[in-house]
């Protein structure tokens, strides 16, 4: 096995220990199929490992990890899109979509968290990234740094997300804030 840079190795181990679970949630937000999701998570970890060669503290480790993870996952979505036609929705269209697709039988059998992820998986990439950041407890500034959205746009989207989640909590679709 080739000689491994110690700082790169320890950074990777720190990342897996600190963000491993969050990365699993991120992969779940991008990919519904469990098997493909495992591949995506593996792809993210490989991308992180390779990217740490160029990590030079110009941003925090957390920002770096989320940027690499989101960029890898967004590419995964683009690849999947090329294989099959799929349409994503804006945050603004979520209530109509949710109201229209909630069959009573389905509602009985799906758990609240699963429904939340199902909702996230249908969002456009940027909306999905903001929602994930919000659910992971990031503030607006950090979300803007990772996504590249303006602070104003992040604030607008977070406001919208809060409305959606509040509505879902009221209707019993999401309990205890989902993944947060």
């Amino acid at each position: 096995m080739p000689q491994v840079d110690q700082s790169r190795q320890s950074r990777f181990e720190e990342t897996v220990a600190t963000y491993g679970t969050a990365l699993e949630r991120l992969a779940r937000a991008y990919e519904a199929d469990p098997e493909t999701r495992r591949d995506l998570l593996q792809e993210i970890l490989i991308a992180l490992w390779q990217s740490f060669e160029g990590f030079d503290n110009r941003c925090s480790l957390r920002t770096w990890v989320y940027r690499v993870a989101h960029n890898t996952a967004a590419r995964h979505v683009s690849r999947r899109l090329r294989m099959r036609k799929h349409f994503f929705v804006e945050l603004e269209d979520v209530p109509e979509l949710a109201d229209g697709t909630e069959g009573e039988d389905a509602a009985v059998h799906r758990d609240a968290l699963g429904k939340l992820y199902e909702l996230i998986q249908q969002l456009k990439t940027l909306d999905r990234q903001v929602m994930l950041a919000y659910l992971e407890g990031m503030d607006a500034a950090e979300t803007a740094e990772i996504t590249g959205l303006s602070a104003r746009n992040v604030a607008v989207k977070i406001h919208r997300i809060k409305q959606i989640l509040a509505r879902r909590v009221q209707s019993g679709t999401v309990q205890n804030g989902g993944a947060r």
Binding site: V4, I46, W49, S51, G54, L126, E145, I146, T147, L149
Partner: protein, 172 residues
């Protein structure tokens, strides 16, 4: 996942990417084989020139697709780019490929096709009635297909440009 596991997976992943790219070239390779076979069967040297030009055009096209459009691993500095910057670069790459379709995809095939049409026309002279009209109709048909492909690609490039504009707006 341990460091050892990720290193082993990275190698496998790289091979998977190479295989995925290779599959994209199989169709082009089949076309080259077909025209290579036609080259060996060609009755005159003008036809052989035409088939050679088409094969050269296909090789140029595949090379351009490989260097500009093939799927590649995430760049090592992906952590320095925000999601919008990264997505924008990806979309720009695809848009440029689609909007320059004449220079790398359709254009290189035109000399070979033109030579073959001339050869076809010469071969029909004196054997078929209205040979000129038939050749002109065939040439128009080919031109129509090319223009159609170019228009479809141009439409797709404009769609990508709209997505880029939306990203720019979101970042402001």
């Amino acid at each position: 996942m341990s460091v050892e596991q990720v290193q082993a997976s990275a190698g496998k992943f790289q091979r998977k990417i190479q295989w995925r790219n290779a599959r994209e070239y199989v169709a082009a390779f089949a076309v080259v084989v077909f025209f290579g076979y036609e080259f060996t069967r060609a009755a005159d040297s003008l036809a052989r020139v035409g088939f050679s030009l088409i094969i050269a055009g296909m090789c140029h096209m595949v090379w351009q697709l490989h260097s500009k459009g093939s799927w590649r691993p995430l760049p090592k500095d992906a952590g320095l780019s925000s999601c919008i910057e990264f997505k924008r670069r990806e979309l720009e790459r695809q848009r440029d490929l689609l909007s320059h379709v004449w220079s790398w995809y359709l254009g290189p095939l035109i000399p070979g096709l033109a030579v073959l049409i001339v050869d076809f026309s010469l071969a029909m002279q004196g054997h078929v009635k209205h040979a000129g009209l038939l050749v002109a109709a065939y040439a128009l048909f080919v031109a129509g297909i090319f223009i159609g492909i170019a228009k479809l690609n141009s439409y797709a490039a404009r769609t990508l440009q709209r997505q880029i504009d939306e990203l720019d707006e979101a970042g402001r």
